[in-house]
Amino acid sequence: MTTPEVTAADKAADIVMEPVSKGPWVEGFRRLLRQKTAVLGLIIVCTLIITALLAPVLAPYDPLVPDLVNRLQPPSAEHPFGTDALGRDILSRVIYGSRISIQVGIIAVGISLLCGTLLGAISGYYGGKLDLVIMRLIDILMAFPYILLAIAITAMLGPGLTNAMIAIGIVGIPIYARVVRGAVLSVKEMEYIEAARVCGCSNFRILFKHVLPNCLAPLIVQATLGIGTAILDAAGLGFLGLGAQPPKPEWGIMLNKGKDVMQIAPWVIMFPGAAILLAVLGFNLLGDGLRDALDPRLKDS
């Protein structure tokens, strides 16, 4: 682009025309919107969030009140997803279920994110013995098949939605700790960190003001994928009877209750399961898209 004939004025013009103010995040978002699958993921996730927020408006029936006259009705104009063994409208229950799933996803990932980031950042930034101890602890946590560990923790703490979220949060810690540690390790060697240190910044300030903000991209990707996994795991725990308890309209518990009547009323298990699939798929598509959009190494591929 630059030829010997370029004048100072041209250079100035170049600088003006360069959209410097947009920054890498806007650029990343643009790249995200260029991927069809990621846009699809974004649409699914947005729909899910809107459904959760507007559940009382969208749901045609009360998700909790039984209507024994209309038990196990097949899908119809009145009940588009049919009714369950207690005559409750399945569509309404699926709609309300999105509230629980979104809540579980955000809180469980919040727990993993907070603990994982802290452990990973300390481990990567300070290094040495502290790093060794923290990483061994992470290794130990990873030595358990994580679904089994989540089941065991929930069962021991006592079945319930809160404990399920805590358990899923705990078993998710290692992955965030590793992601953050890796990112911190590469960022902390950068010159601007050295500059900050020369300026007399404290370790705490360098870590939180300079290092961590630059590790955000991989964290956002991981957290997006993590919400999908958390929704899946929470539904799994619900299905096993360890998560949300009846009569809560949670997708997993709906499958659990539905399996007894699926031979005569398969719609009872079809729709809640499809809802889980769709929600998880949305977050996975969005997460994959974000990885391609935000990861500089894959930028041009």
Partner: protein, 334 residues
């Protein structure tokens, strides 16, 4: 090489100690008195005291842990509170069922996922590629417990093609040698039992294989794409070598390492996923046994069983790491 293995074995020791501490501490997550949890509200103080005494719950935690660890090192993981049988004996009896299911699922996942990945990479952006990658996306997002239920409903209940649960039909005789029923029926030439076992294993194995299959397909595709773009592959094509030779001998051999990593990681997933799958299909394996024990708060089984599963998991990861050096001689560990 030997030094590397030795070093890895030594590094595993602190992890195993940590794993045993965590397995031990699990039951102390229970709010309140573990003895009361096991016996229920109607237990008399005398019964509670007896159970506490027999499980050693009255001692300080470090003393309890040392006793647990010491016994575990001698191959004694205690006795199940419900069945009164030694935990190790029960694991030994249930493990073949889980191993059979896991291996069968892994075989399906590797063959189907690997082939789909390879074909997708050879013909990128073709109809096959788009379809199989779309399926893979569904595969990583689908709840296996739902898939399992749908399979049971469709193939087991609606069309009666496959038995909906269990491992072998009542009345089918099988002489047990290894307790891996498929292997046993082949060894004894019992084709009727073989057919029956295969019919029973196929649905749970497919449900369990879904996620690993999708993961393997995606990793194989991206790894193959990278290798296929390299100069030596073009050279191989230019020399006029047959396609199959180039793809499998030249390309796949070099693209295999990331695939192996995923296979290793997925093995652990399979062990965890087996809990869910075994529960749905009433498969009499370790996963279901552990799940029942966990919900019934059979604490010796919870401690011992989870410790065993974690040990198997750690061992598999170690084996995968060691396999690396064989698969890719370029890797040298120091």
């Amino acid at each position: 090489m030997f030094n590397y293995i030795l070093k890895r074995l030594l590094m595993i020791i602190p992890v195993i100690i940590g794993v045993s501490i965590l397995s031990f501490l699990l039951i102390h997550l229970v709010p309140g008195d573990p003895a009361r949890m096991m016996l229920g509200e109607r237990a008399t103080p005398k019964q509670l005291e007896e159970l506490r005494e027999s499980l050693g719950l009255n001692d300080p935690l470090p003393v309890q842990y040392m006793r647990f660890a010491n016994k575990a090192l001698h191959g004694d993981l205690g006795r199940s509170v419900r069945s009164k049988l030694p935990v190790t004996e029960e694991i030994a009896r249930k493990f073949p069922a889980t191993l059979e299911l896991t291996l069968f699922a892994l075989t399906i996942a590797v063959i189907v996922g690997g082939l789909a990945g390879i074909i997708s990479a050879v013909k990128p952006y073709s109809l096959f590629d788009n379809m199989s990658m779309g399926m893979a996306l569904f595969g990583v997002s689908i709840p296996i417990f739902w898939l399992g239920l749908m399979l049971i409903w469709l193939l087991g209940v609606k069309f009666h093609i496959l038995p909906p649960s269990g491992r072998i039909s009542v009345g089918v005789e099988l002489q047990s040698i290894t307790n891996l029923y498929i292997l046993d029926s082949i060894l004894t030439g019992n084709w009727k039992a073989l057919k029956d076992c295969l019919a029973h294993i196929i649905m749970p194995a497919v449900a369990l294989a879904t996620i690993p299959m999708a993961m393997i397909a995606r990793v194989t595709r991206s790894s193959m794409l990278e290798v296929l773009g390299q100069d030596y592959i073009r050279t191989a094509w230019a020399k006029g070598l047959p396609g199959r030779l180039v793809i499998f001998r030249h390309a796949f051999k070099n693209a295999f390492l990331p695939v192996l990593t995923v296979i290793g990681l997925q093995f652990g997933y399979l062990l965890g996923g087996a809990v869910m799958t075994e529960e749905i299909f009433s498969w009499p394996g370790v996963g279901r046994w552990l799940f029942v024990a966990i919900t019934a708060r059979d604490f010796p089984v919870v401690q011992g069983g989870i410790l065993m599963v974690a040990l198997v998991f750690v061992t598999i990861n170690l084996l995968v790491d060691i396999l690396y050096t064989y698969v890719d001689p370029r890797i040298r560990f120091d």
